[in-house]
């Protein structure tokens, strides 16, 4: 399998324009990404999450350096929150990664969450595929640290690094319930601060485990029987990065060994398909609704409760079922 090669444009420009088209939901983007899927599936997708203030973007910056030192090309997708009032956002992650501003093997793209309407996860999904198809070997997806998006990203990443800092307890409260369970590696960043060792010990419910030749403290076994290691880093001082890269790669190898990687990818595609489908159905319904007076009359009955919304939905499903049977019958006849 070979990376996709854009013939007429600089690859960065081609990646970037395609992501923009997909971000704006333009059909041209959909047509283009369709050609890319045969080139997907080689990248190691790593999600980086954790409460605000845990130093995620500095850690991502240090990770880029560590992967580049190993000769890997890197794509970064960094998400920052939008203001719920103005819709505006300040995207500051790229700046933290300024050391790679001129590195042609590093592609960084910033995103705003744009409220809770949920479009972001689909765009990030697409952007991961685009970077993957264009041959980025490691894709780092950095999230904002709060909200639904964390869980969405967890489903799309192969390996999730949950970044914490000493005294993380309070900040963790602000995050979504269940966030602790999504980490495949727990990272105690800013480990030069007081209380780091205690914070690490508080996370460890398991005896230390051996990864390769090295023993790491361990939080617990997760559902796939992967022992979740705990690693100390100090992104600013660039310490602990070798361990972190090693453990992330170990996790990827573990997924491959246990045949979990293809399962994870299958799950991701299934979910992606269902998301695209429901999005498309909704959109085409809304488009038709705009121009179809019969349909408008019908939906107005829902608004006034002449038909209840559940019954109305059942009727639509019945209609689709009917149409499907009719199509099958036509084909067979």
């Amino acid at each position: 399998m070979k990376p996709f090669v854009a013939t007429t444009e600089h690859p960065d420009r081609a990646i970037s324009r395609l992501i923009s088209l997909l971000e704006r939901g333009q059909q041209e983007g959909v047509q283009r990404i369709k050609k890319l899927y045969p080139h997907c599936g080689r990248a190691h997708v790593i999600g980086i999450t954790g409460p605000p203030g845990s130093g995620k973007s500095c850690l991502v910056s240090a990770l880029i350096g560590a992967f580049r030192a190993r000769g890997k090309s890197v794509g970064v997708l960094a998400v920052d929150p939008s203001s719920p009032f103005t819709g505006g956002a300040i995207l500051g992650d790229r700046d933290r990664m300024g050391a790679f501003a001129a590195d042609p093997e590093v592609f960084i793209r910033s995103f705003a969450t744009r409220g809770s309407s949920g479009g972001l996860a689909a765009v990030v999904n697409d952007a991961v595929d685009v970077l993957d198809a264009f041959g980025k070997e490691v894709i780092l997806v950095e999230t904002v640290g709060v909200g639904q998006i964390e869980l969405d990203i967890a489903q799309l990443a192969h390996t999730v690094l949950l970044v914490l800092v000493p005294g993380y307890g309070d900040s963790l409260q602000a995050m979504k319930a269940g966030i602790m369970e999504i980490g495949d590696v727990l990272v105690m960043n800013k480990a030069d601060q007081p209380g780091a060792d205690r914070a690490v010990n508080d996370l460890c419910f398991q005896h230390p485990l051996k990864f390769g030749a090295t023993e790491y403290k361990c939080s617990r076994y997760n559902a796939q029987h992967w022992g979740v290691p705990v690693v100390k880093t100090c992104a600013l001082k660039n310490t602990g990065l070798d361990d972190l890269v090693f453990l992330a790669s170990e996790h990827y190898a573990f997924l491959q060994r246990q045949d979990l990687l293809s399962e994870k990818n299958r799950q991701r595609r299934k979910k992606q398909f269902l998301d695209i489908l429901s999005h498309s159905i909704r959109n085409s319904f809304l488009t038709v609704l705009k121009t179809d007076p019969d349909l408008q009359r019908w939906t107005s009955k829902i608004e006034t409760l002449d038909i209840d919304p559940y019954t109305a939905a059942e009727k639509v499903i019945q209609f689709i079922q009917f149409a499907r049977e009719a199509a099958v019958n036509t084909k067979h006849s």
Partner: protein, 556 residues
């Protein structure tokens, strides 16, 4: 009339006063200073009740000034910031400023030389990131030969070199020390100033050392000078930087004191004796447009600093002096109708003089447009000279002392500043506030609020949001010829040709090892940097080695 009668009279007068204003008093608008402290229309003896007013200039806590007779013996120094192009052009400017009468105490020369931003940042003029900025807003100083030429012909015993450096302050001191050695004077006689202001990165928009290393490097320069260059001022508490980044005068005061304490603490931790180093710390303070608030701020600075020094164990009174250079605000100057800025600068210089500054830089009226012209720079110097020689302002120490308003405001500023100071101390002090970004957030927020106030007209700025003329400005600022960038690079290359590359590499390797040891808590840096400078290592080369060891990070 005795005290009691006085108050009886005041009470009677106040009744009359209330009556006289009763018709319109409801219509009066509430006023406040730039820091948001409330301002009344009238102050009375009641407002100064309980304040310590029985103090004298030159006596602890120095609220009324550092010297017993104010400016009578030592007027403020006119330290105009200058520097552009290569050292050739800057030499010419030095000479012209001396000819214009710019001088320090007792006729000494004072040169407040600003390095260009690549030199400050610690990259040489041929670095790709220096392009377009070489010699533009400061002089490019890369090599020991540049410094040779800078000090050439000046008597080191009576000349003050204030080097406006950035994180290159140790290499810059090494380079000027090396030049003094090459001249045969040795560095022990040098007089001047290292900015040594790493803590400014709490608000300035540049990367710098990791906080722990940043403070260790501050201390190393202080230690070296306290033992070897006794007349060198070792660190500058750059309150002006806080102010220009957006701090209100109150925040500037509070965080400035906190910054100073963090430097004192770092020195004490390193085992220095309080009286051996604290007296050589100095301040650079901003001056914005609220006249009385600024005077009050300057007075409060001296009082608060004296207390901090005494608490730190300083015994000698003159080591408790908050000696300060006032830099009038660049941020308040408008690009619209630039000549209007002379009025702003004059008011600010006056506040600095009334506040007892030791040294003043008056901004040129065109600093909001570009690099000052000969005319605007000279006019700014003349503003100071007119103030000094024509106005009579320097004749009386602390002339606003005893003003109900100014005394009350000084006290309000001090109290409010201690509150901010103490809150930060409880959270770990300035170094922690720098590391966790809380100082930056507080000051960025103030900058934002100020901008909103200007936008809504709540804070009037003539020509910008009030009495706006919609005419295009044809003002022609000073141009630094871009060919000077080529000239600087040629100079640098010629220097590199002459030196022994092998010696330089060896010296830089020694610097690296010394840095590694120093980072881990042992050894000295300054001597090896001076050695490297003598061998021909450049500003950028030394800084590059340091960045590799001490980290180069963007704080939060």
């Amino acid at each position: 009339m005795d005290y009691e009668d006085n108050y009886k009279n005041l009470a009677t007068a106040k009744v009359e006063w209330e009556k006289a204003r009763s018709k319109y008093v409801d219509k009066l608008k509430e006023k406040e200073t730039l820091s948001g402290l409330p301002v009344k229309t009238v102050y009375t003896p009641e407002d100064t009740q309980g304040l310590e007013l029985g103090t004298m200039p030159g006596v602890y806590p120095f609220t009324r000034g550092l010297y017993p007779d104010g400016y009578a013996l030592t007027p403020w120094m006119q330290q105009m910031v200058f520097g552009y192009g290569t050292v050739d052009e800057t030499r010419q400017k030095m000479e012209s400023l001396v000819n214009l009468g710019m001088e320090g105490h007792f006729g000494n020369k004072v040169f407040n030389i600003v390095l260009d931003i690549p030199s400050m940042y610690g990259i040489d003029s041929d670095h790709p990131e220096a392009e377009g900025n070489v010699g533009q807003c400061g002089v490019t100083l890369c090599t020991v030969e540049d410094y040779d030429q800078l000090i050439q012909g000046w008597d080191l015993k009576t000349t003050n070199f204030s080097l406006i450096t950035g994180d290159n302050c140790l290499p810059a001191l090494a380079l000027i020390s090396a030049a003094a050695i090459r001249r045969g004077d040795g560095y022990g006689v040098l007089r001047g100033n290292s900015m040594n202001w790493y803590p400014r990165t709490a608000v300035q928009d540049i990367p710098s050392w990791e906080p722990k290393n940043g403070y260790a490097l501050i201390t190393e320069l202080i230690r070296f000078c306290s033992q070897n260059i006794p007349a060198w001022n070792t660190a500058n508490i750059f309150m002006y930087g806080l102010s220009e980044a957006g701090a209100t005068p109150l925040q500037e005061l509070a965080y400035g004191m906190s910054w100073g304490k963090s430097v004192i603490d770092a020195g004490l931790r390193a085992g220095l004796e309080p009286d051996a180093f604290i007296g050589r710390l100095g301040f650079q303070i901003g001056c914005q447009s609220h006249f009385f608030e600024e005077v009050a701020k300057f007075r409060a600075v001296r009082k608060m600093w004296a207390k901090l020094c005494r608490d730190a164990g300083v015994v000698k009174p003159y080591n408790m002096h908050a000696r300060f250079h006032c830099h009038t605000s660049g941020n308040v100057l408008t690009a619209q109708e630039p000549l209007n800025n002379t009025a702003r600068v004059t008011m600010q210089v006056m506040a600095a003089v009334m506040g007892g500054a030791q040294s003043i830089h008056a901004c040129s009226f065109d600093e909001s447009i570009g690099i000052p012209t000969e005319l605007s720079h000279r006019t700014a110097l003349r503003t100071q000279q007119i103030m000094m020689y024509e106005s009579g302002l320097r004749d009386v120490a602390d002339p606003l002392a005893g003003s109900y308003y100014v005394e009350c405001l000084t006290d309000q500023m001090e109290k409010a500043a201690w509150q901010i100071f103490n809150e930060l101390e409880e959270r770990g002090g300035y170094q922690q506030g720098l590391a966790d970004g809380s100082i930056k957030r507080a000051i960025d927020h103030s900058a934002y609020i100020t901008k909103q106030k200007i936008k809504t007209g709540k804070q009037p700025v003539v020509g910008l949001n009030k009495f706006v003329l919609n005419e295009k400005a044809d003002y022609e600022p000073f141009r630094v010829d871009l060919s000077l960038e080529r000239k600087a690079i040629e100079r640098l290359n010629a220097f590199r040709q002459k030196r022994s590359q092998k010696d330089v590499e060896q010296a830089l390797a020694t610097v690296k090892n010394a840095c590694l040891a120093f980072r881990d808590g042992s050894g000295e840096l300054m001597p090896v940097l001076i050695e490297a400078a003598l061998k021909g290592a450049t500003n950028g080369e030394m800084c590059e080695v340091m960045r590799g060891v001490f980290g180069w990070v963007v704080t939060e």
